[in-house]
Every structure is written in structure tokens, then in C-alpha cells.
């Protein structure tokens, strides 16, 4: 089993190296086969009946140490080269703190790698969804106007990213976690910078320094953990903490998670990542990067005391509501998806912060199904851009006439994010019950509940308001009447199929009727729309009250973002500062 485990860590980097060397045709076959094998491994590991723990040999630790120095050194170099003061300063601060902390690590060693149930779920997501996105990227990247060498590099980077993610979800040592956290920062920096125009470089720099802040928080957590609890291992730290007090290391780790999840006020890095090719957004939002945040909270929330747990949940639910509201003011399709990701990450974090097995299960549901749904939606956004030349919601108008199947797929993905019996719905459903439960012992949780309820309603509004544009009039865009390329279509359709099949998982929580009834209704609607042809019924034109001018349909926009963003950022920052400050004094 350890062999299988090591393969899931080390096969992706090997594949990445292969991507760099192989000619395009063979590169594609290798990539598809590689994704298949990785997904198979993930499924096999998922059914592993016991927990695996082991330590890496000493030589590898040396390598990790060197890699840490190299990554931080590279960040410093990037700061110099692109003249970014924050990047450079944060790199220097990280270097100083890292050298200080790494030198004083205790001799006591436990397992570097712990493979528990949460990690197994994450493996499925990372390799399954990440894999589908890589396959999609194989074709997508060929249409970018860059050298073949850089296209191969792009695919290689995606594989490397998947490998790093596989290891980060199993890491038990905070030091190793730090290295992998920095590597994900590095990957996202390089991916966002891929197009190398001024905007891309600017946004990549911002993503870099914000995530460096997260790295710095992890180092601070490590230092605090060393001084107060003499350990750099998650499991030892948690067993010594045991929910007794508000722990400074945990507060710092929570801060790192907030940055990684791009929660307001750190939202600009994830939204800035939209300048990169669409597969980058797809993979950042679904299988990798931001999912580290709720995962990390899940890992450490066992050590939270009631107040810390409440504060983290408050930050999460507050961001859930505000990010959903801000999404209402956006016209750029990917930006709308981006804000809704930030919002749902907030909800995941709010759930993960509650140390309760049911809350963990709900958070995992959300993590998994959000990954699949968002992955599918971003792949569809990519099809819109590449095939139809459409980026903005207001340009989408009338697409339903030209490709009803494609629009139905988008509708289904939105449905899977809101309606019973799908996974994301189930997560929200359980969230409301769990927050209600928490309220009884901790009345302030009522605020968390209110934020979550409002956030989830606003998201529903957002998705279906967006959908209206597909049916509205006056489309003026390319790609008229042609079928979407199969190499784009299949990864997106595949993810959607997983999403639908995922409804099976709700059987444990919902009753049989509760699962089957909405499926039956949705299925009937779908079947009738496809099959029902009323040949003998007369047709009529729509009614326009006798107006000759044909009105162009438009959405209403609510500009919450420019009015409330500052205030929301300050409020969220104050809450986050309170979390760290509380750890310091309590």
C-alpha cells in the first residue's frame, strides 16, 4: 500500500517531466493515460480500510529543506525582477523566519504522512477533477499563441500542481505543509503569469505576495507551536491542544487558510487569476489551491475552543454572504463564478470550523461537489470563450437558440449547486441544521446562520438570473450553429455526469423519497423537453402589447461591490485580526 501511496505522490512529477519532453501527439496519449492511472489510484486508496502513517527518510528531509530555500529564493528573485516590494520583503521575512524555525526543530519525529479519511476524499477530487481539467487543457492550450515548448510546460505545471496537492492533503508535519503550500503558491504564480502580458504579470505578482502572506502565517504558526508545544506535527499539536484554549498556532494556520481561500479582503488575487487561460481558473477553483483552505480548517478544527470556532465560522459565513452579493454586480462570467467560489469557500470554512463529525461530513460534501460543479462550469466558460467568443454575460444573449444542449448543461450545473438532492444542496441543508444546533449552546451562532441563509438565497438568485441571458435576444457572436469540439465537450460532460451520480451519496443523509422525488421531477422535465413534440398544437408568437420596437432584454444590476467592498474588507480584516490577537492573549 505504501507503494501505491508513494506513486500518487511521485507519479505526477514524473508525468510532468514527460510532458516537457514528448512530441504533442504522444504527449496527449501519455497525459490521458496518466490521468487514468492517477484516478484509479485515488479510487483504490479511497477504499483502503485503515489509516496509513509513515515518515520519509532523512535524505528526503534534506531535499525538502533545500527545496524550501530554493522556493523562497525564487520568490525573492521574482520580487527583484518584477520590482515588487511586497514580494521581495515577504520573501526575505519568510527566509529569516524559516531559517530560524528550521534550525530549532526538535529531534522528536513522528509520521510525516498520515493518510486519513479526509485525505482520501481529497485524493478523489484532486486526481479526478484535476485530471479532467488537464485533459481539457491538452486541446485548449494548443490554441494559445505561444511556442510549443511553453504549451508543454503549461501541461507539465498542471501535473506538478496535482502532485503537490496530493502530498499536501496527507502532510502531517507543518514544515512539510509549509513547503507544499509555497509550491502551490509558486505553481499558481507561474500559471497566472502564463500569457506574460502586463496584466498577467501584475495579477500574478498580487497572487504571489498575498499567498506569501499565507506562507508567513504558517511559519509563524510553526514558531508558535515550537515554543509553546515543542512540536511541528499536526497530530501532536492537536493532541496537546485538545480544545482547551485558544491556540496561537491554530489561529495563525486559520489565517493562512483565509488567504488561500481568497476570502475578502484577500479576494483580489483569485479574481485576478482570470487573466490566465481558462483551465488555470478551472483548476485553481475546483481541485487545487483554494481547496487547501477548508481542508486545513477541517484538519485543525479539532483543537479549536468554542470562541475560536465561532469566530472562524463568523468570518466564513460573513464572506459567504458578501461575496455572493458582490457577484450580483459582475458582468464578466468568470468573475461571477469567482465570487461565488469565494462565497462557497466561506461556507465550507464556517462548517469546517465546527468540531463535530456531521459538520465535517457536510464540509467534505461541499468541498467535493463544489469542486466538480465549479470545474464543469469553468470548462463551460472556456467553451464560451474559445468557441463562441463570449466573455461577458451581456454577450451571451440568445445562445439557447443555437446550442440548447450546451445551455441545458450550464443550467444543470447551476441546478446542482442549489437544488435537491445534489451534493452542494446537501451541504447547505446540513449547514442550516448544524448552525441551528450550535445556536442552542452558543446564541451568537444565530448570526452565522443568518449570513448563511441570506448567502445561499442570493447565490440561487445569482445563478438563475445569469441563466436568463442565454434566452434573451440579440446575440452577436461567432461560432454560429457549429457543434462544440468533442475534446472540449467530453471533460465538461464527464464532470457533469459525476455531479449527477453524486446524488447517490445523499442516501445516507436524506431519505429515499427525498432523493428520488426531485430526481424524478428533474428527469421528467428533461425527458419531456427533449422528447415532447406537439405537432398538432398551433403555435403563437409572443405578446408585446402591440409595441413595434422589439425590446432588448437585460438584467438588473445591483452595484454592491463598489459601495460596500471597503467596509466589508475592513470588517473581515478586523475579525481576522481578532482571531490572531485572541490567540496571543488568551
Amino acid at each position: 500500500m505504501a507503494v501505491l501511496l508513494n506513486l500518487i505522490f511521485f507519479l505526477p512529477p514524473v508525468l510532468a517531466a514527460a510532458m516537457l519532453r514528448l512530441p504533442p501527439e504522444r504527449r496527449n496519449y501519455t497525459a490521458v493515460a496518466g490521468v487514468g492511472i492517477l484516478t484509479l489510484f485515488a479510487v483504490m486508496l479511497f477504499f483502503l480500510p485503515f489509516e496509513v502513517r509513515f515518515a520519509f527518510p532523512e535524505a528526503l528531509h534534506l531535499l525538502f529543506w533545500a527545496a524550501d530555500i530554493a522556493v523562497i529564493g525564487f520568490f525573492a528573485y521574482a520580487g527583484l525582477r518584477h520590482r515588487s516590494m511586497p514580494v521581495l520583503l515577504l520573501a526575505l521575512a519568510q527566509m529569516a523566519l524559516y531559517l530560524g524555525v528550521a534550525g530549532s526543530a526538535p529531534a522528536e519525529k513522528t509520521a510525516d504522512i498520515v493518510l486519513n479519511e479526509t485525505a482520501r476524499y481529497m485524493f478523489l477530487i484532486i486526481n479526478g477533477v484535476g485530471g479532467a481539467i488537464i485533459i481539457y487543457a491538452l486541446h485548449y492550450i494548443q490554441s494559445e499563441a505561444v511556442q510549443q515548448r511553453r504549451k508543454n510546460g503549461f501541461i507539465a505545471l498542471l501535473f506538478f500542481f496535482v502532485g503537490v496537492m496530493n502530498m499536501i492533503v496527507a502532510a502531517n508535519s507543518i514544515e512539510l505543509f509549509f513547503l507544499l503550500f509555497e509550491l502551490t503558491t509558486l505553481c499558481s504564480y507561474l500559471l497566472i503569469k502564463f500569457r506574460q502580458d502586463a496584466q498577467s504579470v501584475e495579477n500574478a505578482k498580487r497572487a504571489l505576495w498575498m499567498n506569501q502572506l499565507g506562507g508567513l502565517a504558517i511559519l509563524a504558526a510553526m514558531a508558535a507551536s515550537l515554543t509553546a508545544y515543542e512540536t511541528i506535527y499536526f497530530d501532536t499539536l492537536l493532541s496537546r491542544a485538545n480544545g482547551a484554549a485558544w491556540l496561537l498556532p491554530l489561529a495563525f494556520l486559520a489565517l493562512a487558510a483565509f488567504v488561500k481561500a481568497a476570502l475578502i479582503p484577500f479576494n483580489s488575487w483569485l479574481l485576478g487569476a482570470m487573466v490566465a487561460p481558462t483551465p488555470v481558473s478551472a483548476i485553481l477553483h475546483s481541485a487545487t489551491m483554494v481547496k487547501i483552505a477548508p481542508f486545513l480548517i477541517l484538519k485543525i478544527s479539532g483543537g479549536f475552543d468554542a470562541t475560536l470556532s465561532f469566530l472562524v465560522a463568523l468570518v466564513g459565513s460573513f464572506v459567504f454572504m458578501t461575496a455572493s452579493l458582490f457577484a450580483l454586480s459582475k458582468d464578466y462570467f468568470k468573475e461571477v463564478l469567482g465570487y461565488s467560489t469565494i462565497g462557497l469557500l466561506g461556507l465550507m470554512i464556517a462548517l469546517a470550523a465546527i468540531a463535530d463529525p456531521l459538520a465535517h461530513k457536510a464540509a467534505l460534501f461541499l468541498i467535493c461537489f463544489h469542486a466538480v460543479a465549479k470545474g464543469a462550469l469553468f470548462l463551460q466558460a472556456g467553451i464560451l470563450e474559445k468557441h463562441y467568443g463570449v466573455k461577458y454575460i451581456s454577450q451571451i444573449r440568445g445562445l439557447a437558440d443555437r446550442n440548447p444542449l450546451f445551455v441545458a448543461m450550464i443550467a444543470l450545473a447551476f441546478g446542482a449547486l442549489t437544488l435537491p438532492p445534489f451534493g452542494v444542496f446537501l451541504g447547505k441543508f446540513m449547514a442550516i441544521e448544524l448552525f441551528s444546533q450550535q445556536m442552542q449552546s452558543h446564541p451568537l451562532f444565530s448570526v452565522v446562520l443568518l449570513f448563511s441563509v441570506l448567502g445561499s438565497v442570493v447565490l440561487t438568485l445569482l445563478y438563475f438570473r445569469l441563466l436568463s441571458n442565454f434566452y434573451a435576444k440579440s446575440a452577436q457572436s461567432a461560432g454560429e450553429g457549429t457543434a462544440v469540439d468533442k475534446r472540449y465537450f467530453f471533460p465538461a460532460a464527464g464532470l457533469l455526469a459525476v455531479l449527477l451520480a453524486g446524488a447517490v451519496l445523499s442516501f445516507g443523509t436524506l431519505g429515499i423519497t427525498q432523493v428520488l422525488l426531485p430526481l424524478l421531477l428533474l428527469g421528467t422535465a428533461g425527458a419531456l423537453v427533449l422528447l415532447f413534440r406537439a405537432k398538432h398544437i398551433d403555435r403563437t408568437k409572443t405578446y408585446h402589447c402591440g409595441e413595434k420596437e422589439q425590446a432588448v432584454l437585460a438584467n438588473s444590476y445591483f452595484d454592491f461591490e463598489s459601495r460596500y467592498m471597503k467596509r466589508a474588507q475592513v470588517l473581515a480584516l478586523v475579525l481576522m485580526a481578532a482571531i490572531v490577537a485572541g490567540g496571543w492573549y488568551v
Binding site: 439557447a400 443550467a411 441546478g415 442549489t418 437544488l419 435537491p420 444542496f425 441543508f429 442550516i432 441544521e433 441551528s436 445556536m439 442552542q440 446564541p443 444565530s446 446562520l449 443568518l450 441563509v453 441570506l454 438565497v457 442570493v458 440561487t460 438568485l461 438563475f464 438570473r465 441563466l467 436568463s468 442565454f470 434566452y471 434573451a472 435576444k473 436524506l510 431519505g511 423519497t513 427525498q514 422525488l517 426531485p518 421531477l521 428533474l522 421528467t524 422535465a525 419531456l528 423537453v529 415532447f532 413534440r533 406537439a534 398544437i537 398551433d538 403555435r539 403563437t540 408568437k541 409572443t542 405578446y543 408585446h544 402589447c545 425590446a551 432584454l553 438584467n555 438588473s556
Partner: protein, 274 residues
């Protein structure tokens, strides 16, 4: 057994209710009003008319809206999970919204847009309504609510918020902007005709049953209180409908969010401290 008959005859009962309602409103205005069975006479008229459709998908979504609402009432009356029932009701509304969007009609789109905006007002109240019962009964199980004690007096602010929701959902003045006939000529309804319009009509009847059953929950197992309560709400809603003029959709959103969600939330926080 009684429940099953009630569920199966829900559209009929809703139609009867509408008949009584039209009489009551007429009496309030010193009119005679149409006969009690007028909704059914209208139904036969619609069925006999020559059917016309805009397109198939549009028609299918209206039928699905009706069927889903009926299923919602079934789950509500047969005693499923209250929170789940409210989310299933969301599915029914979404079918209506998609129906509105699926044709190229300005008024239909306006109606669907407004349907979504008012959703943002009443859906939080409905969820908080479920949460209030969770706090009182310890679960979302409708069975225990039906057999439990009456909670009306612990939930008075929420009751007021639910009156607001009922006005919105049943399209009563002053909160009927979502399907205002004089403004947007019925909104989503506009593009339906003949027997297919009848499905939207019946959906409205089932919506009546849904809303009034939610009010029934306030009375728990107290049959007498339940009957008095429903009769009171019935008269109250029609009185408000008769006595007020429609407000703009933007004002509806403000009033709904501040008073509806506000009262419901205050009630819930109050429950935690009492």
C-alpha cells in the same frame, strides 16, 4: 388516510378556497361576487379553448411547476422534513422562473426576474421559519410538529413575517408586484393559453394549500386553534389585499428584507434566550 385524500384533492381544495376568497373579497367591496365554483367554470372554459403554445419547453416547465408544487404539498402534509419541503418548494419556483425565461417575451422575462427578486425576500423567512420549529421541537420533523403543542404565542413576530410571505406568494396587494397584471400583464403567465394556462392556474391553487398548511403548523396538534387561525389568516390576507395599493418592486424588497427577515430573525434570537 385523511392525509392522502387531502393531498390527492389539493388542487380541488385550492380551487374551492379561491372561490370562497372571491366571494369574500366581493362582500368586502359590497359586491355579490362570482359563484363559488367560478374557478372551476373558468377551468372548463380554458380546457375547451383551442390550445396554443409558444414552444414545447415553455409548456413543459409550467406543467412541471404544477407537479412539483403538488409533490411539495404531499411531502408537507404527509409529514416529511420541514426544511427539505422548503427547499423542494424552491425547485418548484425555479421551474416557473425557467419557464418565464425560456421564451423571448419581454413581459415573461420581467415576471421571471421579479419572481427571483421576491424569492430573495421570502426564502430566508421560510428557512428561518423552519429553524424556529427546529429550536422548539428539536428537529425539522413535521410529524413532531403536527403532534406537538401550539407554538403560536412563542412565534408571534415570525407569524407576522409569514403573513408578509403569504401576501407575496399568493400575489396579494400591496406585495403583488411579481405578477402585477396592470404593470407586466401577469409576468410569467402571459405566454400561456388554453389548457396549458390551466396548469399555472392550478399551481396557484396548490400554492394556496401550501401556504395555509404552513400557517397550520403554528397551531401544532390544537385543532380548534388551527381552524380559528386559518380562518383569521384567510380574512386578514383578503382584508389587506382589499385595503392597500400595490407598492413598487424595489420597495417590496426593502420592506420584505427589513420587516420579514428582521422579524423572523428577532424571533429566533428571542427563542434562544427565553
Amino acid at each position: 388516510m385523511f392525509e392522502i385524500i387531502f393531498v390527492l384533492s389539493a388542487p380541488l381544495l385550492g380551487g374551492m378556497l379561491q372561490g370562497i376568497e372571491r366571494q369574500l373579497r366581493a362582500r368586502m367591496q359590497n359586491r355579490m361576487g362570482p359563484p363559488l365554483l367560478q374557478p372551476f367554470y373558468d377551468m372548463f372554459k380554458l380546457i375547451e379553448k383551442r390550445p396554443m403554445i409558444v414552444d414545447e419547453a415553455h409548456t413543459v416547465f409550467a406543467i412541471m411547476h404544477f407537479l412539483t408544487l403538488w409533490a411539495v404539498v404531499a411531502m408537507l402534509v404527509l409529514g416529511d422534513n420541514l426544511l427539505y419541503v422548503i427547499f423542494l418548494h424552491l425547485l418548484a419556483t425555479i421551474f416557473l422562473v425557467i419557464a418565464g425565461y425560456s421564451v423571448k417575451s419581454v413581459y415573461s422575462h420581467l415576471g421571471a426576474n421579479r419572481e427571483l427578486w421576491v424569492l430573495a425576500v421570502y426564502e430566508p423567512v421560510l428557512i428561518l421559519f423552519a429553524v424556529a420549529f427546529y429550536l422548539l421541537e428539536g428537529s425539522f420533523s413535521l410529524q413532531s410538529i403536527y403532534s406537538g403543542q401550539a407554538h403560536l404565542f412563542a412565534l408571534l413576530p415570525l407569524f407576522a413575517a409569514m403573513v408578509l410571505v403569504a401576501l407575496i406568494k399568493l400575489g396579494k396587494s400591496p406585495f403583488d408586484a411579481a405578477h402585477a397584471h396592470q404593470e407586466i400583464i401577469g409576468g410569467v403567465e402571459i405566454e400561456y393559453g388554453g389548457v396549458f394556462y390551466e396548469f399555472l392556474y392550478m399551481a396557484k391553487w396548490v400554492e394556496y394549500i401550501f401556504i395555509y398548511t404552513l400557517f397550520w403548523l403554528f397551531a401544532g396538534s390544537n385543532l380548534l386553534l388551527g381552524i380559528v387561525l386559518l380562518a383569521g389568516v384567510f380574512v386578514l390576507l383578503n382584508l389587506i389585499d382589499n385595503a392597500t395599493a400595490r407598492i413598487k418592486i424595489s420597495d417590496l424588497l426593502k420592506v420584505g428584507l427589513i420587516w420579514g427577515v428582521g422579524l423572523a430573525f428577532i424571533n429566533i434570537v428571542g427563542l434562544l434566550y427565553v
